[in-house]
Amino acid sequence: MKSFDYVRPASIGEAIAAARAPGAAYLAAGTNLLDLMKGGVSRPDRLVDVTHLPGLDTIEKLPDGGLRIGALVRNADLAHDAAFAKAYPAVAEALLSGASAQLRNAATVGGNLLQRTRCAYFYDVASACNKRAPGSGCDARGGDNDMHAVLGWSDGCIATHPSDFCVPLVALDAMVEIEGNGGRRQVRLEDLHRLPGATPQQETVLEAGDLIVALNLSAEACNFASHARYLKVRERTSYAFAIVSAAAHLSLANGRIEQARVALGGVAAKPWRAREAEALLAGAEATAQNFRRAAEAALAGAKPSGDNAFKIELAQRILVRALALASAGTPERIPALPASPFSIHSGALHDA
């Protein structure tokens, strides 16, 4: 690991001033950053440790009934917060389907949003990677790319965003609260991450010194709490990144869908909101046929970026399954195998 200066700011203002310098990076739990630094993928000159900043580790109820989640709240604490899990159950299920218990105990909300792709060529410093070394090319294009993007990719980069947490969040119109040089601002999570285009090294809209301080979920997003699921296909039962995943939220009245909030994971460089699917589902009956039509619409623009045409059909099937499970009802308790399509129990009695 390259050496770095360590800075522990006492306030958000000090943190921003320290992180504005070229080569500076924020350190929260470090569960992704330290791994990248050990591999020489990230080489910051200065680490600005925000874990001791006061006031960023609380979950607050907002006056309008929404929730404000501090950027330093740990993944496990958020998932097991009873009020949060009841209001946003698919988000809690997504959190618990990610990483391991040890990592969830450390990893933070803000860090999760900013985690880097798990593309093996990004991680391997001997490989060409436009994201890590702009202009060097993309060895994933001719390499092992069955896990790579099928939506929104470019000739320069076919990497995917690895977060589970972000998938239901983007469906629920979560807002990211950012403090930076110009004061505090809010950005829709959907707009936080960029598609690669010709500049895959620019992964987010954050500018130098910008610090994510909180994540906001609206009261309106609670309306889907009784019909919300997150499903994730992995290469093993637990402790693996998604091949594809889907978050499905429905509001139902007499078997008819009033509104739907749908997103996909593992398919693109950002958590992928599926508005075409939502539009088809609104007002439709909750039937397998309508779920299939919605899933086809969600993937209509997909194309393989390598040996991954299977992901297009797989994403449709996992979305159909997520919609069917959401329509059956959110389980009383998060299943023993969160988000797993291979759990032995299904439907509303998933935890029976």
């Binding site: 097991h80 040890q102 637990s238």
Partner: protein, 165 residues
């Protein structure tokens, strides 16, 4: 540049001079404090061999900078038994063949202690397996590990019920 931190390690306060901010909790324990029970497997957060409790919570010590944990209270495998008297979880690992080579065992034990404290898995073998999935065992002693944790959970539950009754 020197940084000094203070940690409580297995109940004993330690004031520590760090010569380099790159030192992880894992390397600090093993190289500077001679607590080599905590193992370095992958050193990248993938195997769980380095699991310790920090302020009562299980984490991967390989992905934690020591300097960032100033003031923390740490429990390692060396702090689990009372003298020669093994912790009930350690006894259960022996009874159920919860290990073969033993390299992953300190991490398995610390992870299981964390899992028991978290109170999410109960006596459900499937939840225990899921909760322990961050600890790899290349000898494949998973069945024994699950049985050992399950037995301890069942005993704790029985004790709790006795106290209530």
């Amino acid at each position: 540049m020197n940084h000094s931190i203070s940690l409580t390690v297995n109940g004993v306060r330690r004031d520590i001079a760090l010569t380099d901010p790159r030192v992880t909790l894992l390397d600090l324990l093993r190289e500077q404090l001679d607590l080599t029970g905590t193992k370095k497997g992958c050193d990248r957060g993938q195997c769980g061999a380095c699991t310790i409790l920090v302020d009562g919570r299980r984490i991967n010590s390989c992905l934690a900078l020591a300097i960032s944990h100033d003031g923390a209270s740490i429990t390692t495998i060396e702090g689990v038994a009372r003298g020669d008297e093994l912790h009930p979880l350690q006894t259960a690992f022996i009874a159920h063949d919860g290990f073969q080579c033993g390299f992953c065992t300190p991490g398995q034990l610390m992870s299981a202690l964390g899992l028991i404290d978290e109170g999410q898995a109960g006596c459900d073998a499937e939840r225990i397996r899921e909760g322990m999935s961050g600890n790899l065992c290349r000898c494949g002693a998973y069945a024994g590990i699950t049985d050992a944790v399950l037995e301890v959970q069942q005993k704790l539950k029985a004790e709790k019920e006795r106290r209530v009754a």
